[in-house]
Structure formats: structure tokens, C-alpha cells
Symmetry: C2
Subunit: 294 residues, 2 copies
């Protein structure tokens, strides 16, 4: 089987050709400019490859309601040139094959649950902490969705009493993303995260906010594995801090083995697929679409 | 079909005999004392009725992991006599029929999604605000579960700056339940909720905390309907307050019709089944168990 995958991010599109095992044989990275230009480059990359299916993990928000007249569209994105772009429609006008289409984070969650850190588990929460904060959730093997895909990056978290930074979310100021995504880190401390590696208080505060969110996600979703990816999580010193604070805040209320002293480092983990979670997720979406047409 | 349902609550067990349409023909209420005494009365109520299936919606926490050695047990409940009681085992030792077993709130969510306020929808969040706060979530027609059932009542919420009540959760002090369940209301204001009906600030603060939680649940779970039940929600003046605060806090970030000015009163609603959501949920669990054996 030859599968096409597109990890459509806000700054770059990563396209890859792979197979049903999630193996990638060829890939390219394309800057995200405007739909006409970027889609032309996407088309050019895949030209001549006889694809059996194609999958797209897209930045959002996107319309995933199949009964909606704008299914597959990018919705009110801050990236104005992409707002109201019929992404799924553009793909299906090029390729007459099964098409998988979902959020970039749902795709990554799916890939982690098939080939990565949550392999063999029926439930997995994947969170990316980078330019923004987004999350995808697999429940009983499928992407969690209801009215729409989740928007967990914007949950309200309890402020740290000593943190007076106002937050940078244009909608909510100090929601999780407004307090803990890369831009918030940079605005609060005056430097990019990578330049603050040795400053303990930076990562303690970051772990404080991420653990606020994780405690709520654990109590709400009961995930079997939590995978934390994205640029900010390259600061691996965050993992033990987050693990400890999650235990402290739950205070023994949930008595699961996963949350025990011995096991929590295997419960809250980096992506098993490293930086390939998104692209492999797009392959997984394609596979799902292909199988559902059989 | 003749179905038995048990709504097993911390203060009373409601047992009923019904059918696959969720109609209840006979019922009884039994005080929750200890397992031997209460189960004897349950057995007595159903004696002579040829049940095709039986369902239990139980207070928790309960073990729902089918691979666990303690599947169907009540876990570390504050009700000491019920801690480690093999509830599902006790039922199956009495009745040799398909048995449905889940939390009381998952059962209520299921009933609301089949016969109640979320009829015809594939997703529904049911929250009860009473002696405690618990929630059940239906996703694509099934109960959401992962490591275990959710424990949404204990999420961390942002404190109201003018509220200095310390909270009454024995594990977390000021989690949602510790700040907004019935006992918190009573301890904070010195009177039971029913005696405070006309005092606006009581319900504004209550709506503040419940809307904090709902905003996070909406962003995390994207439910198609939110049903609020339980004793505290008998104060119907809470509904418009909560609806308004949810919109205010989301600040237009989610552009779904459900959250619009015209529709939000149909999105955050009282139980369509009134006080029968729990018992009818037990019938629905029984039906599910019966169908899965066919």
C-alpha cells in the first residue's frame, strides 16, 4: 500500500509517502504561505506517486461535522488566508482516493496509539505545547469528537499566586495557552524557552500550569497514557516536575497503578514517535479512511 | 422484556422493574445501610419477577476494568461498610442473566441520551450536583472510560477572588466538589441551599463555579448536550446564570450554534427524565448488557 500523509501546520506543511506500517520512505517540508501556493507544492511533491489513500492532519479550528455544509473547511483561523479554505475539498479535487481528515493533534494521538507510546492501549491523550497548545484524544480507538474536535489548549487554569503575567491569548488572556505556550514563556521571561534552559523557576512555573491542566484532563478523560510533545516539551527537565506536581495535586484520590510513584514516569511521557507523530498520524488517518471504504 | 434496574446511591437504593422502552412499572426505595442488609432488601423486591436482564448504576468509585481482579467492586469509598464490596459479583450470584454495571452518573448520561434531553445525539455530558458532584459522558453512544470512569467532580477550578471559603473536599479542599456541592453551599452560607433560594449572591457564586467547570468540560469533551441534575440544580434560577457565564468566559472562541444566544438554553438543560434519569439509566445498562449477549 502506498499512502500519502500531510501534516499541515501553521508554519510548515510536512508531506510524506509511506505505508500501512507507518514507515515513511520520502518526505518534504513546505512553508505554509497561502492555500494556492502551498497546495501547488503539495501536489507537485506527490505527482507521479500512485496513492491508495491520503490523510491530512490539519491545524485548526476545522469543521469535522459531516452534516455541515462546510465540512473539511478551516474555520476562523488567525491565519486569514486560510480562513474558510475548503481543505478536504481541495484534496478530493486532486486525488480520487479515500481521504482521512482530522486535526493535527488528533492525528498525532492516533499515531501514538497505533505505533508509539500508547501502542496497544485503547485510550491516549496527546498534547502539543509549542506556539500554541492543542490536544487530541483517542477513546476506544477513535478520535474523541462531539460538537467538534476538542480545544483543550484554552481551558481555564488556576493562576499561580506569584505569577502576575497577564497572558497572551487573544480570546481569554490567561487560559492555559495564554499562560504556558511558547509565546507566553517568551513574553513573561523576555527570552525564548531554549535560552532559559538552566533557570529553574521558569520550568517550575511551566510545570505548575501544565500539571493544573493534566490533573483536570485525567479527572475528565481518564486517559490510559498522556503523551506530551511540541517545542516546549523538548525541555525534558519538565517531565519529572510535571509528574510530581500531578501526584501532589491529585493527593492520592485516584488509586491507579499508572499514577503510582513507580509508574508515573511511564504514564506521562514524550512522544514515542518523536517528531514524526504528526506525519505518521496523517498516514494513520489515511489508513482509517481506506479501511472504512472496504 | 422484563428488566430490573438498581440506582445504587449513597443514601438510598432505588430499584425498579421496567421494559426496553424505559417504562417503569414498579419501584421501591431502600435506605443504603450495609451491603448485607441492603442487598437482602433488593433481592426481596425482585423476588418472583422473571428478569431478562439487570442493570446497576452505582455510587463510586467503582472498578470498571474488566481485566482487573476487582472488577465490579466498590473501591475506596468514604462509606466504609461498602468499601471493597464485590457489587457486580453479588448481583451475578443472585441472577443468572446479563448484568450491566457502571457508575450512577454514566447510567444517567446513557438514559438521557436514549430517552431524555439528548435523545438522538451521539454525545451527552450528564452532571449531578448534590451531596457530591459527579459526571458521566456518552461518546459515540458509549460510556467514556479509560483507566477508569471519569471523576470530573474533583477538577480544579479558578477561585472567585471574593470567596474565602476553604472548601470541604477531604482530598483537595477546594476542588469543584469542595466548593460547589450541597455541603459546601451549606457550610459557606450557614444554611441549606433550599433555605437560600432568594439570596442572589449565593446562586451567582454557585453559577460562577459551575460555569468554570462547564467551560473546561466543553473545551475538553465537546459534548453535544449538557444535562445538569441533582439536588442543587432544583434551583432553576441557576440555569440562565450558568448559561450566561459560560458564554462570557468562552468569549466567542467557539462559534458553534449550540453556544449562541438563541440556542444555549437548549444546550445546558435540566434532565429530560427528571428524577428518573438514574433508574432509567440502570434499565439502559441492563438493555446494553442483554444486547451484547445476543
Amino acid at each position: 500500500m502506498i499512502i500519502g500523509g500531510i501534516e499541515a501546520g501553521g508554519t510548515k506543511f510536512v508531506c510524506g509517502i509511506g505505508n500501512e506500517k507507518g514507515e515513511i520512505t520520502n518526505r518534504i517540508s513546505i512553508p505554509t504561505t497561502n492555500p494556492t501556493e502551498t497546495m501547488d507544492q503539495v501536489k507537485h511533491f506527490f505527482r507521479g506517486t500512485p496513492l491508495d489513500a491520503i490523510g491530512v492532519g490539519s491545524f485548526g479550528p476545522i469543521d469535522l461535522n459531516r452534516n455541515s455544509g462546510t465540512y473539511g473547511y478551516i474555520k476562523n483561523s488567525p491565519k486569514v488566508e486560510w480562513k474558510d479554505f475548503d481543505f478536504a475539498g481541495a484534496i478530493s479535487s486532486i486525488w480520487n482516493v479515500p481521504i482521512g481528515f482530522d486535526t493535527d493533534v488528533n492525528a498525532a494521538a492516533l499515531a501514538e496509539s497505533i505505533w508509539g507510546a500508547a501502542e496497544g492501549l485503547s485510550s491516549c491523550l496527546y498534547i502539543t505545547i509549542g506556539t500554541g497548545i492543542g490536544a487530541g484524544m483517542i477513546v476506544q480507538g477513535s478520535m474523541l469528537s462531539g460538537i467538534s474536535h476538542p480545544e483543550m489548549g484554552h481551558i481555564r487554569v488556576r493562576r499561580h499566586p506569584k505569577d502576575h503575567y497577564e497572558g497572551c491569548c487573544p480570546y481569554h488572556h490567561d487560559c492555559l495557552e495564554g499562560l504556558a505556550a511558547g509565546p507566553a514563556l517568551e513574553e513573561r521571561w523576555g527570552k525564548k524557552g531554549v535560552a532559559l534552559k538552566g533557570v529553574d523557576q521558569v520550568w517550575e512555573l511551566e510545570a505548575y500550569y501544565l500539571s493544573e491542566a493534566l490533573v483536570n484532563f485525567i479527572l475528565t478523560l481518564s486517559p490510559m497514557k498522556i503523551v506530551l510533545g511540541g517545542g516546549v516539551m523538548k525541555q525534558h527537565q519538565l517531565f519529572p516536575l510535571i509528574q510530581k506536581m500531578v501526584q501532589y495535586k491529585l493527593n492520592g484520590y485516584l488509586s491507579f497503578n499508572e499514577l503510582s510513584q513507580e509508574n508515573i514516569a511511564q504514564y506521562i511521557v514524550p512522544p514515542g514517535l518523536g517528531d514524526d507523530a504528526g506525519l505518521k498520524g496523517a498516514l494513520a488517518l489515511a489508513m482509517r479512511a481506506y479501511q472504512s471504504k472496504l
